[in-house]
Amino acid sequence: MRFYEYESKALFARHGLPLSARGLAHSRDDARRIAQEIGCPVVLKSQVLSGGRMKAGAVKFASTPDEAAAHYDAIVPIVVNGQACRAVLVETKSPIAQEYYVGVTWDGRAKKPVLIFSDMGGIDIEEVAEKHPEHVSKTHFSTILPITPRIAKEAIGATGVTGDALNRLVPIVHELMKMFLTYDLTLAEINPLVRLEDGKFMVLDGHVDMEAEARGKHKKLLEELGIRPDETRQAREATPFELRGAEINAKDHRGVAGNVVEFDGDLGLVIGAGGGSLTLFDAVRKHGGRPANYCEIGGNPSVGKAKELTKLILSKPGVEKIAVMMNVVSNTRVDIVARGVIKGCIEAGKDPKDVIAIFRIPGAWEQEGFKILSKYGVDYCDRSVSMYEAAGKAVAKMGRK
């Protein structure tokens, strides 16, 4: 879950990292007032969940409060990589002597956090790593031993930094490493971290990502930072349809019937589980089908949960039929899903045999499930029909090629 820059900086400030004087503007008057208070020249930066702000023109410099107000108006409408501007951060502009990069992230191969440091900051770190590998150090560190400053010292020193700069950098980098683990972050990045002309260091821009699984653990912090529990911070915010899906899933703790993502097609998908849903979604598209949604059922959800999910999908405008498909199931029971889906169709005022294009869930309790489906005249198949073929049958019933 990505933080806005101003949220990242609020977190950095709690840990005593050096930051410029700043204020968050929600109006042009705010921008003018903040510029006046902190003193010009200032930099105005769009608060947006995306990189590439500079290129998009969403970062501007102002030498007077009036200019800051004008820039505010120019920045707000700019959409960066599909992301809208939430507010504008106004900060003092400082004279820079050198830029550095420091980031901490997970390395799934080493299964450890990795500290990345470079004395060539301000630009894309991947590019630096490619062109100037001697200026980038990558240092893995333990999650069970204490995090001590020597790890930071070694990582910084490996890029050739020495003297006063080294000694001033160590506590900043050390603090960032600790924050990474304290808050279950998946990315803690400062780029650039700058040395000013007077030798002091300052965090100019920061990017923090928190692991979704850890949100509950850090509820208090998120609340204090003003991050609402329903903000997914994915590539786009959740739609009302998706939020209703999440509600259905949360209401009953038994199994999963949710993770709904809205698409604009006409074929509703009641599919599962984690891997099966990806496989089936691909298959529907490969056959030329247009999915109305993505979802996941698994872990043996209750009849009620499967029913509600079915009703939700059928309620989406434009959905003509649903395809109920999963891989061979182990712990999810076929009969329970069958019962839930049929109930859902009936409660939505539809005849199951008309609205269910295909039911393909083989596995545990399939005989019982198939019996129920036959009773309602629903077209079903067992494992002898592959997931791909089942998706094809569903798409064929949509009456298009």
């Binding site: 999650t143 279950d184 699984e213 786009r236 099966g276 990806l278 891989n327 061979v328 199931v329 545990a364």
Partner: protein
Amino acid sequence: MSILVDQNTTFIVQGITGREAVNLTRDCLDYGSKVVGGVTPGRAGRDVYGVPVFDSVRDAVKANGGRVDGSVISVPPGFTRDAAFEAIENGIRLIVIVTENIPRQEVAQMVELANLRGARIIGPNCLGLITPGECKMGGIGGPAANTKQAYTRGNIGIMSRSGGMTTEIASTLTAAGFGQSTAVSIGGDAIIGTTYAELMPLFEADPETKAIAIYSEPGGRMEAELAEWVTTHRSRLPIVAFMAGRFMDEMKGMRFGHAGTIVEGKEDTTAAKIERMEKAGISVAERIEEIPALIQKRLGEKR
């Protein structure tokens, strides 16, 4: 032969009195696995389908003459790390973590301690593993009758980031006359105890295994790691991989399916993964039902 588990493997179930764990225990027992104990603090003296329950792993191990090979951990996310530490520190060498939604940091801690003590973790967020006809360790395959229908003894090793798709692939292979040596559901998280590349040396050393089938998806570097391993070690095993989630290539930053399944950079895309794997000589299937024929073809080429 097989890898990791066979007819002699003994294991315990941590969190054995939980709803899912009770089912898992019954299914494993029905299949013929040697479930020799269970742990739920405060429930010592009870039993689950005849399996004695203990307060601690220490007591369970002691009651089994000081030796238990494995543990299946099925406890809530907040208790998983400690459960894994408990298993590791009591000498258990093979730990299957079923639990989902564990923050990466805790997974990393479990893996780090396991590495220090010479233990292996499978998962988290997995269904465990099976050597057909010998040992089913975890929920993989479901009830014994369903498991027997999908999994049969043979020469194909399976590794899968999806528990359900492990069984789908096994079922497809079985229908085509290909049995399996060992099938491992490795887990769907961004950080897992044992990756494809880390299982490869085991399959490589197993004379029974003649080919490998893999389920993979977007996110992470696990496929790249496998491709590298195969190239560096000149693997004798033909590998056929199925790649799911191709639609995600166009949906950067959106998470689908498992926790580890997200396209953040170019390397996470299915297109990049397919290219890497094919370069390393791994055949990539677009449909599950293509796997048996591709394996057949690759085995034929070898002769």
